[in-house]
């Protein structure tokens, strides 16, 4: 079996279904003019012309980079970005700089400032919710340039699936998934911690500060874990309450508790929060959700 990467992509699709691609252990053949060989070809010419002797390590790296870059350019694959990058190494920096728009309220991170602003409106703006309640179509289509606005979260979702071929499992708002420890705790103490709300809010102010700093840099593994640990303690009480509220009030009451001045975090998010590991929603909860009103719980 021999195949080029492009063919392998198709084979994966055919063999394993569109969603799960399986590892294909197969020989890969490359054409002699494949960019893969560019570095070796360059080296051949440098050595033949004895230029190699006169070049420093840095010069060589530069030269190699130029040769390789001239044959392949990298484009940012985030939809709507199209930024042209000199080389693959630049992509991570680009991603962190350009696609890490963070919400100042809940620290969720989005790949574009437009999506961030949509999130802020939909999740933290009671004015937005008021207009929704009065029947205005407020939920913008997430695809840039489409312009369509829908009256409910769900109908917007359907529009994305129908018109823009989004996968059915896509969720702009994902509930934060509490960790195992928190679930166990809430199972042991089912009564609401409403009394702690005031305390939670004040904790939030502190929590918010820590979290905001965290997202700026790509945290190193150990730093990340440290801040996670610190926050876990702050958040735990809040999240127990949050979880309980979800069970009792479902979604409607959450809306009235929100305001832009409120510093409490949304626990329903799209995208990752650098300060937390898990933001995934159990499928069953997603399917049962009534997103006509905001899925926030405080």
């Amino acid at each position: 079996m021999q195949q080029r990467p492009e063919d392998a992509m198709e084979e994966v699709e055919a063999a394993a279904g569109p969603e799960l691609g399986f590892w294909l252990a197969a020989r890969r053949r490359l054409a002699p003019d494949d960019p893969f060989f560019a570095a070796g070809d360059l080296e051949r010419e440098l050595l033949a012309k004895h230029l190699a002797l006169d070049l420093s390590e840095d010069d060589r790296n530069q030269l190699e980079k130029m040769e390789v870059a001239s044959t392949c350019t990298v484009f940012c694959p985030i939809a709507g970005c199209g930024a042209h990058l000199g080389c693959l190494e630049d992509f991570e920096d680009h991603y962190v700089t350009r696609h890490s728009a963070s919400c100042s309220v809940c620290s969720r991170v989005y790949p574009t400032s437009r999506l961030l602003s949509i999130h802020v409106s939909e999740a933290h703006d009671s004015y937005f919710q008021a207009k929704v309640a009065r029947g205005f179509p407020m939920y913008e289509c997430l695809v840039e340039g489409c312009g369509v606005k829908l009256k409910s979260y769900k109908s917007r979702q359907q529009h994305l699936i129908d018109k823009h071929q989004f996968p059915k499992s896509f969720e702009f708002f994902k509930k934060a998934r509490p960790s195992q420890r928190q679930r166990q705790k809430s199972q042991r103490r089912p009564t609401a911690h409403k009394g702690e709300e005031a305390r939670d809010n004040s904790m939030d102010v502190d929590g918010k500060g820590t979290r905001q700093t965290n997202w700026k840099y790509r945290p190193k593994q150990h730093d990340h874990k440290e801040s996670k640990e610190n926050e876990r303690q702050h958040q735990e009480a809040k999240e127990n309450e949050m979880e309980v509220e979800q069970k009792i009030d479902e979604l409607t009451s959450a809306v009235s508790k929100l305001s832009t001045a409120d510093s409490t975090p949304a626990n329903v998010t799209f995208g990752h929060r650098r300060s937390r590991g898990l933001t995934f929603v159990p499928r069953s909860i997603r399917q049962n959700k009534q997103p006509a009103s905001q899925p926030e719980a405080k």
């Binding site: 394993a16 569109p18 969603e19 054409a31 070796g40 080296e43 051949r44 991570e92 998934r177 499928r283």
Partner: protein, 477 residues
Amino acid sequence: MRAKRVCRAPLSGSDEAAMEEGDMVIDEEKANLEARTTQAVEELKSALSTQGKGAQKKKIEVLRALRRLLSQSEVPPVEAAIKAGAIPLLVQYLSFGSSDEQLLEAAWCLTNIAAGEPEETKSLLPALPLLIAHLGEKSSTLVAEQCAWAIGNVAGEGADLRSKLLAQGALWPLARLMLSNKGSTARTAAWALSNLIKGPDPKAVNELITIDGVLNAIIRNLEKADEELATEVAWVVVYLSALSEKATSLIVRSSVPQLLIGRLLASENLQLLIPVLRSLGNLVAGDAYMVDSVLTVGNSITDQAVSSLIKCLKSDSRVLKKEASWAMSNIAAGSLEHKKLIFSSEATPLLMHLLATAQFDIRREAAYTLGNLCVVPAGNAAPPNIIVDHLVAIVNGGALPGFINLVRSADIESARLGLQFLELVMRGYPNGQGPQLVEREDGIDAMERFQFHENELMRNMANGLVDKYFGEDYGLE
């Protein structure tokens, strides 16, 4: 890629080599140089019509003057020469019956003109038939060698010129020259040949392998020749093995694989190692016979092959590391025995280290290899079977961050590779620990990047994995 070479010094064995005095003329002002060149071409013209006693001597003198300008200047004044009309004149100097000395000088001038910019190389078109003709067996070896050099430069320019040369019959005489006993001639011919056959049209390689004596000459040179000659011959093998299935099939059944491996183990010369390694890589990739029948586990050639690739993985050269990883990945795509052999060798820790620390292109090849070591293909639509021991060792050895980094990259192929490896881990790591391990290394984070990726397949793949492994049941006891 600039595959042309300027001829600066007289060919070895020529009279010039003995008497040549010139140092490089540096700091020659460009305008001055151009003026002198134009002048030289003028004299070339007038010398053609000179008759009588000193005529031949005069011709050599003027040729030499132009040749020196074109070979001793740091930047040869090629454009000026062409503008002044050198090419048609030089074609005349190449006419049949001219003295060897004259042919040599004229061919040398053309060689260096052909080493210029693309348009400059193309201007040699009128000279091609004569250059090819003078490759013939009736020519003196030196003349043939110089003409071969000029043709090599022309061939190095591009596919169109290669077609022209092939159509005009350049292949056979060059192949014959490669069989020469004179080292420098064989070397120049091999180099020119490698430029001529590099494709993308496989016609040339398919024809070359049928020429009597070529494969034997390749074998002989790989075995015995000095490193310079072996290097150029290896490049011929590179293109034969990359472009021609017929050639590859013949080569893998000959002693060439063993000779390549031998050279790889014995030499420290990067110039030689590159084409030798690449040839080996092409053979392994191109013909199942290589991995299935030549590199059978248990044969000493196989152990040597793995050792030679390990040697490359350890080298400082980025090219060797990358291409050796590629070759290794293709052997790791072989039988279970192959996977066990490689896994238990020094290769695994080396590849893990490369996956964690090397440049992107090397990391990707290392990833291919490590992943290939962990799976055995199942039936057509079924998920591959996982070699749990290998997977566990590789993950425990710290390979996950490297794969997750690939998931993050802008390169679709690498991202897909990373996701596929994560699938293996989450499906196959014992006691269902896979997902936790992936989460711990920010794998979920990386997969979430695909939610707004422009590629639907990637979005679906990533979402599918997240849904499957981080769904409702995740984290429950």
